[in-house]
């Protein structure tokens, strides 16, 4: 079973809970479960009783195994989220949950139905030192990552209990790392429209619905080059399905004003192809079909096969001054020494200068190749999809 075929089967199962007559025979249960896991939709499939009743017993059993695992992981993660958000509250650090973490609580019947690898929290850049101290006091430690401030606007923290699974918290002080998306919405704008996430407590807040949709539409392109991961498209259908016509118009106006309309349009078209109609009839023409002057620099991210060097050039162009550009170039050429040691030579005593030279030689090929054929692992944050 090819991964393309597995994806088609997953889409059919998500939409109708079954596959056409006779198609079960060609389903490779292990391959399908692997892809369901990779696409983040296994718990959604396991929550469909009709699907479990019709599917081969082995598939139903594997899906229920995954469901139990996701529930357990989520219970552990939820404890971490509650502790962190309460500690931020006590330290007067305004913080917003966003991306998969927020949607799990605001747009899914149970948070374990929305798998994710980490907890995404957004804070104001000025609160970084205090937030850092709060997390250290709770036992979290900063994870090693490729870039430094100036390229990455997020820092992963890990808390490892002695025997249990680690909780990974990704603290962001900007919505997206690429400069062309970086100023899409400020923390203050997002906080002004934020909503209470009642299921986690009165003090826990996430993005307003229009902002949540904008982030869902942009994230999969800005950080993952229009990746076809199903759960991200499912998120769009869930969030979009809760918007009224006025909110859709606000979404359209905001996307246009912030230069991400092409990206949002592409994301919604993909979501509709997988989940069925998302945009209401009253707004379809305006949002999906109306021509507009599409010279948005962000649209370049829809081309997944663009060499990485072009992406960096876009970032450099988006910066307002040469000081900032120099900082980005330096950060790409000379990532933090701890990162170089752990990634390139964890057991070697080779001097860091030598590791930079090795990286420069290897990196040149990657920078000019197409991301689809040689992922530039060391030039992004290195985290798996969430």
């Amino acid at each position: 079973m090819t991964i393309e075929r597995a994806r088609d089967v997953l889409i059919a199962l998500l939409r109708s809970g079954t596959v056409p007559d006779g198609a079960w025979a060609e389903v490779d249960v292990e391959a399908l479960c692997r892809e369901a896991d990779r696409h983040g939709v296994a718990p959604l499939l396991a929550a469909n009783p009709q699907l479990l009743a019709r599917a081969p017993a082995m598939l139903a059993s594997r899906l229920l195994d995954i469901q139990r695992r996701e529930v357990a992981v989520d219970l552990l993660r939820e404890q971490g989220i509650r502790e962190v958000m309460a500690a931020f509250g006590r330290a007067a650090v305004p913080a917003l949950l966003f991306k998969g973490t927020q949607l799990a609580y605001t747009h899914y019947p149970r948070p374990d139905l929305r798998p994710r690898l980490d907890t995404d929290v957004l804070i104001a850049a000025g609160d970084l030192p205090r937030a850092h101290r709060v997390l250290l006091a709770l036992g979290y430690r900063p994870d090693v990552q490729a870039g430094s401030a100036g390229v990455l606007y997020q820092q992963a923290y890990i808390r490892q209990a002695p025997e249990a699974l680690p909780h990974v918290l990704d603290m962001h002080w900007r919505l997206a790392n690429p400069e062309v998306f970086g100023h899409m919405l400020s923390f203050e704008e997002l906080a002004a429209e934020s909503v209470c996430i009642h299921r986690l407590g009165q003090h826990v807040r996430g993005l307003g619905a229009v902002h949540a949709l904008l982030v869902a539409a942009v994230h999969r392109v800005a950080h993952h080059f229009d990746d076809d991961r199903l759960i991200w498209l499912y998120d769009l259908a869930r969030v979009g399905g809760g918007l009224d016509a006025d909110e859709w118009r606000r979404f359209r106006a905001l996307a246009s004003a912030r230069g991400v309309l092409s990206v949002c349009r592409a994301s919604l078209e993909q979501a509709e192809a997988v989940c069925g109609p998302v945009v209401p009839e009253a707004c379809r023409h305006e949002l999906l079909h109306e021509p507009w002057d599409a010279r948005e620099v962000t649209a370049a991210y829809l081309d997944a096969r663009r060499p990485h060097a072009f992406v960096v050039l876009d970032d450099l162009r988006a910066l307002p001054d040469w000081r900032g550009r120099l900082r980005v170039v330096r950060s790409h050429m000379f990532p933090p020494a701890r990162y170089m040691r752990e990634i390139y030579a964890p057991r070697s005593r080779a001097p860091v200068a030598w590791l930079y030279a090795v990286r420069a030689v290897r990196g040149a090929r990657r920078w000019l190749s197409k991301p689809g054929t040689a992922p530039p692992l060391d030039t992004f944050d290195g985290r798996s999809p969430q």
Binding site: A47, P49, Q67, R68, R69, V71, A72, D74, L75, L76, E78, Q79, R110, D112, A161, E163, A164, L165
Partner: protein
């Protein structure tokens, strides 16, 4: 382990969290990362056991809910409590006297 139903009650330790999933329940010991799943009947037993004033009270409630012989229910409840307690998911305490 023989537990006197009328003189004992059970509670989940502070490190154990649970979530209802359809008609089942997943229990997780956050201290160890070990997790367990209860079926439909186990879920009802867990709900009664962890809230009732005594195991006997939980037993009476389950007897009303399910069409089962009292002795069989008593045996199965004792067995469930023993398994959960040995896995650290339940603490058996004496009712204050």
């Amino acid at each position: 382990m023989s537990v006197p139903f009328a003189e004992s009650y059970v509670r989940a330790p502070a490190t154990v969290v649970s979530r209802a999933v359809e008609d089942t329940t997943v229990l997780l010991d956050t201290a160890t990362g070990r997790y367990f799943s209860l079926d439909q009947v186990g879920t009802r037993a867990w709900a009664h056991l962890t809230t009732a004033a005594s195991i006997e009270a939980a037993f009476e409630a389950l007897l009303e809910e399910f069409d089962v012989e009292p002795e069989r229910l008593r045996e199965e409840l004792a067995s469930l409590i023993a398994r959960l307690a040995s896995s650290g998911l339940l603490e058996v305490r004496r009712v204050a006297g």
